[in-house]
């Protein structure tokens, strides 16, 4: 049995220097991108091996926002843990809540009703739109166009308003809980959502005019950062990143939860897996989400919004329970290991961004620094979701 050595970042970099045995004639150098860098979307750090402007190697360094959520989960009740999932991928807070709620409901045999599931589906889809709007804006900013950012946020505020009215928070929602949703929907909810849909449809066309159809944008996205389907699967990528590579894997379709089975929608799939496909898939997903909401918004059945009293500390039977949902970024999974108490023995969250991020080590080498920014942005990463 050979000895197992644990290395450090310094050694990793040192190894990378000698990787080609000094064969290259030009001088290669290392730069740190992050932890504070405008286009790493938070505190991600990438150690880049550059040759002039060309990226030779990307070494992501994580953990600058590692908050130890899983450890904390071992001391909190299931109901309490829900609010921590808000803070992982804060742009899909509702979907994250839903994953925990689903796991607990399945384990503790809590039956929800149609109303609860419909409300959950609608708010989760609304937030998916909001998340993609934000991504679109930031993507524009990373390419150097500042205006999309403000346009994206202008429309995102409309969704924030709708959600705030019902939920009471703009970002960290903590709304979907085991056994229902925190509050019933606001009386204006349906009207406002419909207003938003009619408002947003022409705005989406505006997005296309401003960014999608721009020659420079197309030039910078097409063919850049190609991720083949095989690699995407092997690297565990999910969500739009996987679908852009041509694998039509969408949990909403393959194992429908909520009331997705009732709604008709398409799963947009890309062809080449380049930045352009990832861009297109997300824009198309906004359209599909609007379709889903349109079908559901008038058909919210009557019923209670909560079947379990919120104060109850739910006991989960012994065993291992999984659940996963499709967030705006991919599959968010929760594994509850219960020993029969009202706090989990161990809780593991499988976050989509952790896997998606690593595809950058495969796609970025060979491209330029500017392309690296495009590629990272097209992955739509949220750093606390990577680090947990």
């Amino acid at each position: 049995m050979s000895a197992i050595t644990v290395t450090s970042l310094d050694e990793r970099i040192r190894r990378s220097i000698g990787a080609d045995g000094g064969a290259s004639t030009t001088q290669e150098y290392f730069v740190n991108m992050g932890p504070q860098h405008p286009s790493t979307h938070g505190v991600l750090r990438l150690v880049l091996k550059l040759d002039g402007e060309n990226v030779r190697e990307v070494i992501p360094v994580l953990g600058y926002i590692h908050r130890g959520v899983e450890k904390m989960g071992e001391h909190l009740s299931y109901r309490q843990f829900v609010h921590l999932t808000d803070r992982l991928d804060y742009l899909s807070a509702l979907a994250n809540n839903w994953a925990v709620a689903k796991a607990v409901e399945k384990a503790a045999n809590i039956e929800t009703n149609e109303r609860i599931e419909t409300i959950r589906t609608i708010v989760a889809e609304l937030q998916r739109i909001a998340s993609h709007q934000l991504w679109w804006g930031v993507f524009g900013m990373d390419l150097g166009a500042f205006t999309p950012f403000l346009y994206g946020f202008r429309d995102r505020e409309k969704i924030s308003d709708i959600l705030e009215e019902t939920i009471g928070a703009r970002l960290t929602m903590n709304y979907i809980q085991p056994g229902g949703v925190m509050f019933d929907i606001h009386p204006d909810f349906q009207r406002k959502v419909k207003e938003f849909l009619t408002y947003f449809r022409p705005k989406l066309e505006e997005y296309e005019t401003l960014l999608t159809q721009n020659v420079i944008v197309q030039e910078r996205m097409r063919g850049v950062g190609v991720l083949t389907a095989e690699k995407a699967v092997s690297m565990g990528a999910t969500g739009p990143v996987l679908r852009a590579s041509g694998v039509a894997h969408d949990l909403r379709r393959s194992e429908p939860y909520g009331v997705y089975a009732k709604a008709a929608f398409d799963v947009p799939v890309g062809r080449n897996g380049d930045c352009w496909d990832r861009y297109w898939v997300r824009i198309e997903e906004i359209r599909q989400s609007m379709r889903i909401i349109e079908q559901l918004i008038d058909n919210i059945p009557e019923g209670k919004h909560l079947v379990v009293k919120p104060a109850v500390r739910t006991k989960v039977p012994e065993g291992i329970h999984y659940s996963q949902v499709e967030t705006a970024r991919g599959i968010f999974g929760v594994m509850l290991v219960s020993d029969g108490k009202d706090v989990p023995y161990r809780i593991h969250v499988r976050t989509p961004n952790f896997n998606n991020l690593w595809t950058v080590t495969e796609t970025a080498p060979g491209w330029r620094v500017a392309d690296l920014v495009t590629i990272i942005s097209s992955l739509d990463i949220v750093v606390p979701d990577i680090d947990r």
């Binding site: 197992i4 290395t7 450090s8 970042l9 310094d10 399945k106 699967v233 599959i331 593991h348 499988r350």
Partner: protein
């Protein structure tokens, strides 16, 4: 593939594999010696073709003095799941890496090392991933203590 059919197929590949109960999806316990070979076969067998490692993590069974690794596999072709459990001794948790079977395992295994101290044989780049390189201890172990941590008041 149906759950029991899946399990019998896996058992035909690895006779030592046993059913892991109290899991709400098809789950097998396998001995640690069979890890890389069995995993490769799980991926390559056309009837199974588990081409995606959804998540890889560990559970620290502190009282039983063992650490249990969990490999959650998914097949994008057949759309079925399988959870593979591997028990390791808590004092010397060593297992062979599967990073050459699924690329993502390289980083997921680094995370398990970081949090549980599980050592992976023939891992290309085993080092801490979320914490600092000079961090002492493995935080997700049940007996992890740290002068920084605060107990919640009862």
């Amino acid at each position: 593939m149906e759950a029991n059919e899946l399990i019998s197929t896996v058992q035909s590949l690895e006779p030592a594999a046993t059913l892991r109960d109290k899991v709400d999806r098809p789950a097998m316990s396998v001995p640690k010696e069979s890890v890389p070979a069995l995993m490769r076969r799980l991926r390559d067998e056309p009837a199974l073709s588990f081409d995606m490692l959804c998540a890889h993590t560990a559970i620290d069974w502190h009282n039983e003095n063992r650490i249990e690794l969990v490999y959650q596999l998914y097949s994008t072709k057949h759309r079925h799941y399988l959870a593979v459990f591997v028990s390791l001794l808590r004092d010397m948790p060593v297992v062979t890496s599967v990073s050459d079977v699924w690329r993502i395992a390289e980083w997921q295994e680094r995370e398990v090392y970081d949090m549980f101290g599980v050592l992976y044989r023939s891992h290309p780049d085993l080092r801490r991933i979320l914490l600092d390189d000079d961090w002492k201890g493995f935080p997700l172990r049940k007996d992890y203590k740290d002068e920084f941590m605060l107990e919640a008041p009862k």
